[in-house]
C-alpha cells in the first residue's frame, strides 16, 4: 500500500473489520472445537475440566463408524466419477465448437445453483420412481450431479491456460488423438484434476440436505449428526463437527496448494534468461 495517503484511523478500522469478519465466521467452529474437549454435559461457561471423554464416546459408537464409512465410500466414488465427468465436459467445451454450446455449458454448470431442498426432492422423486432410492449408490448419484460442475469449472480454468496449439503440436509430432490426450492434455491438467478430486470429495463429505433426502438407511456422517441433534444435545456433535471440519479443510487446502503451485511454476525461469547466450 502507498504510505502517502494512509490514514491511521482508517487503517485500524479496516483491520478491526477484517478481524471481526473472521471472528464471526470462525467463532462457532472454534467454540465447537473447544467444547469437544469440555468435560461438562452441556456447553456452558465457565468450562469444566479438559477431557477426551466425548472423543472416546464417539470412537466407541458403531453408528458413527457406519456413517463415516458411508461418507468415505461415497466421497471417494463421487470424487472420481465427478472429476471424470467434469473433465470430459470441460474438454468438450475446450476442443469442439457446436450448435448450442452456450446452452451446453450453462446446463453443465447449473446444478450448484439449484436450491438443495429442490434438488433433494427432485432426486428423491426421480430415484424412487426408477427404484434407485434408499441405497448408498443413491447418495452417490445425487452427489455426482452436485459435484461434477465444480470439477468441470476447475478443469475448464486449467484448459483455458493451455496454449491452443499444444494439442495440435502433439498430433503433428505423431501422437494420435488418444495419445495426445494421455501424453499432453492430462499431464497438463494434472494439478487441476487432483484439485478437482479433493474439492468434489470435500463437497460430498459435508453435503447434508440431498443426502438426507435420498440416503434412506445408509446415512452419511452429516445426516447422522442431525439424528444426534434431534434426539439429544450431546457434546459428541462437537467431536464429529471438529472432525468433519478438519477433514474438509484439509481437502480444500490441498486443492488450493495444487492450484497455487501451478500458477507459480513458470515464474522461476525468467531470471536466468538473460545470462545464458542462446
Amino acid at each position: 500500500m502507498n504510505d502517502f495517503n494512509r490514514n491511521r484511523l482508517v487503517d485500524w478500522a479496516l483491520k478491526l473489520y477484517v478481524a471481526l469478519s473472521f471472528g464471526f465466521i470462525f467463532a462457532p467452529i472454534a467454540a465447537s472445537f473447544v467444547f469437544s474437549f469440555n468435560a461438562d454435559r452441556f456447553p456452558s461457561l465457565p468450562l469444566g475440566g479438559f477431557s477426551t471423554v466425548w472423543y472416546e464416546a464417539v470412537w466407541n459408537d458403531p453408528l458413527v463408524w457406519e456413517g463415516l464409512r458411508n461418507t468415505l465410500i461415497v466421497g471417494i466414488v463421487v470424487s472420481v466419477l465427478a472429476t471424470v465427468i467434469g473433465f470430459g465436459a470441460a474438454y468438450t467445451d475446450f476442443r469442439y465448437r457446436f450448435f448450442g454450446k452456450t446452452v451446453y455449458v450453462a446446463l453443465a454448470l447449473l446444478p450448484p445453483t439449484i436450491p438443495v431442498v429442490i434438488l433433494g426432492l427432485a432426486m428423491l422423486a426421480f430415484l424412487s420412481s426408477t427404484h434407485l432410492s434408499g441405497a448408498i449408490y443413491s447418495v452417490m448419484i445425487a452427489h455426482v450431479v452436485m459435484c461434477a460442475p465444480f470439477a468441470m469449472a476447475i478443469c475448464r480454468l486449467r484448459l483455458s491456460q493451455m496454449d491452443p496449439s499444444l494439442e495440435a503440436a502433439a498430433w503433428n509430432l505423431g501422437a494420435t488423438e488418444w495419445m495426445a490426450m494421455r501424453h499432453v492434455i492430462i499431464p497438463f491438467c494434472k494439478p487441476a484434476i487432483f484439485s478437482a478430486l479433493f474439492i468434489t470429495m470435500a463437497v460430498s463429505f459435508d453435503e447434508f440436505a440431498v443426502a438426507w433426502f435420498v440416503s434412506g438407511l445408509n446415512e452419511t456422517l452429516p445426516v447422522k449428526v442431525l439424528g444426534f441433534l434431534q434426539g439429544q444435545v450431546s457434546p459428541r456433535i462437537n467431536v464429529i463437527g471438529t472432525f468433519v471440519f478438519i477433514a474438509s479443510m484439509t481437502l480444500v487446502i490441498l486443492a488450493q496448494i495444487l492450484l497455487m503451485k501451478r500458477s507459480a511454476a513458470p515464474a522461476g525461469g525468467a531470471k536466468e534468461t538473460g545470462a545464458v547466450t542462446p
Binding site: A168, A170, G174, F188, V276, P278
Partner: protein, 364 residues
C-alpha cells in the same frame, strides 16, 4: 536441389463457412528448397501451411506429397513437423523429453531414442540444458528446442509458422543464420510462413507472395523486388513508385505512357505487349530515383515536386515528395547524397529516372 516437386497443391480451395481462406491454389514445392510464403495476415499463408501439415483439410482440390494424395491422411500419420509461432513446447516436460516426444509417439525403442535425441541436442547446442524444464530457457534456447523436436525424426520437409516473430531483432538475425545453415546442411525442404520481407528475402530460395487466398507472384528476391508482377506486390513491398496511365506512343525501344503526373518514357516489357491507347501501370523502385534542386539534363523522365518530409532508415533515408495532382513519390538515398541537396519541407525538388529503371506490370 532438383526440380522434382516434393509437394503439389493442385487447385486447392479452403473455405471456413462463407470465408474463402485459400482460393484455387496451384503451387509446386521443390525437393530441398527453402520456400517462404509471405503475405499480410488473413492472406491464406498459414492455412496453406496447416493444410500441408494435415491440421486442416482442403475443401476442394488435391495436395500431393511425394506424388501421393494426402488430403485425408491425419497429421499424426504424416511426417510433416511444424515449428509453431508460439513454439508450443510441452511445459511439463524437460528439454530432452520434448525433443524425444515424436520418437516416443512413433514407438522408437529406448536406446535408439536416446541416441538420436543426444545427436540433436548436441547439434542444436542445447545438450547442457537437457534436463531442464523448458520454462527455464531463454527465447533463443526455446527456439532451438522447438527445431530439435521437429527435426529429430529426420523428416523430408519442415514447416515453420512465423517462428521468429517473438524474438528481438538481434536474435532474429542470429536465428535466421541458424535456419539457413541448417537447411543447407540437411538438404531438406523448408516451408517458411512469414509476414516479414526481410526474413523471407534473406533466407528463401523462392518467395511466394499471397493475397486474399491467391498467389500473386512466385520468384526469388531479385525477381520480386525488381519486377513485381501485380500492383499488389508492388504496394506490398512498399519500395516502389507506382504510375498508372494510358499508352500514348509505342516505338521499338520505348513506350510512352501518359499519366496524371505527366508523360513518361518506359522500357518495354516482353511479357506485356502494349498498343497505343492501352491502360498500363509501371513502377520505379525508390532507390532508382534521382533528386536535384535544379532541372536535370534531358533524356530522363522528370517530375517537379515539393518535399513533404524525410524518413530515417539507418544508412539511408527515404524522402517523401509530392508532385502535380498530389502524386506521392518516394526516393531512397544515402545520407551523403542527401547532404548536397536542400530538402527543407516545401522546397522544390526535381525527381528523375531513366527508362531502364522502370518496369511495366505484366498484369493490370
Amino acid at each position: 536441389m532438383t526440380d522434382q516437386p516434393l509437394v503439389v497443391f493442385d487447385g486447392v480451395v479452403k473455405r471456413f463457412g462463407g470465408f474463402v481462406a485459400v482460393d484455387k491454389l496451384d503451387l509446386d514445392i521443390r525437393k530441398g528448397e527453402f520456400l517462404a510464403i509471405m503475405g499480410s495476415s488473413g492472406c491464406g499463408k498459414t492455412t496453406t501451411l496447416r493444410m500441408l501439415a494435415g491440421l486442416e483439410a482442403p475443401t476442394e482440390g488435391e495436395i500431393r506429397l511425394g506424388g501421393k494424395r494426402i488430403n485425408d491422411l491425419p497429421t499424426w500419420r504424416r511426417d510433416t513437423p511444424m515449428v509453431w509461432q508460439s513454439l508450443a513446447l510441452f511445459p511439463f516436460l524437460t528439454v530432452r523429453e520434448n525433443v524425444e516426444f515424436s520418437l516416443r509417439m512413433r514407438g522408437v525403442e529406448r536406446t535408439e531414442r536416446r541416441k538420436r535425441v543426444d545427436t540433436w541436442l548436441e547439434r542444436m547446442q542445447i545438450a547442457e540444458f537437457a534436463d531442464r524444464n523448458v520454462a527455464h530457457l531463454s527465447g533463443g534456447q526455446r527456439q532451438r528446442v522447438a527445431l530439435a523436436r521437429s527435426l529429430v525424426t529426420e523428416p523430408e520437409i519442415l514447416l515453420l509458422d512465423e517462428p521468429l516473430s517473438a524474438l528481438d531483432a538481434h536474435l532474429k538475425v542470429r536465428m535466421q543464420t541458424v535456419l539457413s545453415n541448417l537447411q543447407r546442411e540437411l538438404g531438406i525442404t523448408f516451408v517458411y510462413v512469414t509476414h516479414s520481407q526481410s526474413e523471407a528475402f534473406s533466407m528463401a530460395d523462392r518467395v511466394v507472395i499471397m493475397s486474399r487466398g491467391r498467389v500473386e507472384q512466385i520468384g526469388n528476391a531479385q525477381e520480386i523486388y525488381r519486377t513485381p508482377r501485380t500492383r499488389f506486390v508492388a504496394e506490398f513491398l512498399g519500395s516502389s513508385n507506382i504510375f498508372a496511365g494510358n499508352v500514348s506512343n509505342v516505338s521499338s525501344h520505348a513506350v510512352t505512357i501518359s499519366t496524371p503526373a505527366g508523360e513518361f518514357e518506359v522500357a518495354p516489357n516482353a511479357a506485356r505487349p502494349l498498343a497505343k491507347g492501352d491502360k498500363a501501370t509501371f513502377v520505379v523502385s525508390d532507390d532508382r530515383m534521382h533528386l536535384s534542386n535544379s532541372p536535370p539534363v534531358n533524356g530522363l523522365n522528370r517530375l517537379e515536386t515539393s518535399v513533404v518530409g524525410e524518413e530515417f532508415v539507418g544508412a539511408t533515408a527515404i524522402i517523401h515528395l509530392e508532385g502535380a495532382e498530389r502524386i506521392e513519390i518516394k526516393a531512397q538515398k544515402s545520407h551523403d547524397e542527401l547532404g548536397e541537396l536542400d530538402l527543407e519541407p516545401g522546397t522544390k525538388v526535381w525527381v528523375s529516372w531513366s527508362p531502364e529503371a522502370t518496369h511495366i506490370l505484366p498484369r493490370e
